[in-house]
Amino acid sequence: MSWRNELLAVWAVTLRNALMGARNVFFFFELLFWPIVGVLSIGLMSRFLELTAAQASFVLVGTIALSVVNVCQLEVAYAVLLDVWSKSLKHQFLAPIGIRHLTLGSWIVGMVRSLAVFVLLAALGRWAFGFRVLQPGWLPLATFLLGCFLTAWVVGVAVCALITLFGNRAEAFAWASVNLVLVLAGIYYPISVLPDAIAVVARAVPLTYFLDAYRAHYGFESEFRAPIATGLALSALYAALAHWAFLAAIQRARRTGLLLKMSE
């Protein structure tokens, strides 16, 4: 396949997701409602508990990261979910494209959307709680966002794989299982407070390292030696695994007929 066709297929998916997003009011609601509720409740709670400015920043970074990852991974999952909901999955897999086009195309839309959510939440945090996202500087911020996007990609593709493996009834299970892992990533606490067994899981989540690196700029000592490199390496590993799992799930769906069943 030529580069032109590669980019064109990705662009087709990007455009499709963007159009669907723009036309479905509830998607928009989903996009804004929970993130705003999250930041407000966490911010107010930190005020009630009389946390220091640094501590408040710690939890706000966590809740903003969770929102960014959630919005972005949801969009990545739309790569197959939209077609599962509309029962048009087979048309895509009849076309000469690969899953990379689907996931990358959706990821681009996911990044744009979650960036918009991030800006909104950052402004809200600043206005309501005096929290400054740019305090660490542009580069750490960009790295942190990249970490969120990569985590979202992995989560979204994993959800796609689970859905094509077990059918659309597995939707709830897919979200629950991946979100469970996310919450372990030390969103609201350093992973040193976790019991050992769970800390092992948290250490395997790339987002943990990106949060750690970013929070270091707010005065929390880093718990890892090279958090960013570790986060990137883990993300790359999981991205490859998730991609492979999705690919295998699609091949299996072609064998079992699930691909057809999900389109009727």
Partner: protein, 311 residues
Amino acid sequence: MLAIDAQDVEKTFRSGWPRRRETAALRGVSLTVARGAIVGVLGPNGAGKTTLLSILATLLTPDRGRVTVLGHDVVREAGALRRRLNMVSGRPSFLWSLRVGEIIAFYGRLYGVSGNALRRRVDSLIELCELVPYRRIPYSDLSTGLKQRVALAKALVNEPELLFLDEPTLGLDPDVAARVRTHIARLRREQGITIVLTTHYMREADELCDEIAFIKAGRILARGTSGELKRQIRLGEVIALKLDPARVPWLAESPGVLRCVEVDGWVECTVDEAENRLPELLRALHAKGIVIRNVQVREPELEEVFVELAK
């Protein structure tokens, strides 16, 4: 030159958990289709038609058998093959809030069409499928017939050499169905597209298909032109007579008459060969002084072939 060469294709679906159910959908199907032909796959519900088409279109992998489509192996060279074929299925569905033009353009891009070429392609397909007034309507607001036409337009977006149509006129009113059939016939005539279609409308198969393969319980039972199938099944031809007096019991015993039934005042005699038997019957009736008020001769309908084979 063969567009499709499938040999001994088998497919068993395994579903259900924890208790496994196995459905043998195809049990050794062999089918060849010449380039530029329109072949109909007919058969009762659950016979395996959709399964067969899906395997040929790379949506499903066969358990066993060798399948070559347009010179490509459907499993090993699926990618190259997918550029060259497309499919329409009976109950189409696409993303609900995309507009007609956007849907066709989306799939066009997946097949590598872009820029001005894409715009021209979308325009011409919208025209061809008579969708001009609906171009900006969201998919979910379209009627069944319009949705079916969108599906047809989408299926032509990559200018396929081979088109699979799985019940393309399902749920369409007779007028729209007739126009879809005209489109299909024109696609083959003007662009030389090879077409494999399934349908439950025997008229449609009779009108469109060069050849018909009859499939039942995962096996191909008969194959040939509609005329050949009718002869093969030995259904004979029907001579319908309106007589006075209406009942003539000895007619059923006449030479060459396979059976006789009375329907709405007509006596319908199924005979082996109408051309030879008609003069004999008329002569015999005349000799007995029976008045012949009306005579009709007709071939058996494909529908009767279907009912016979499906038994």
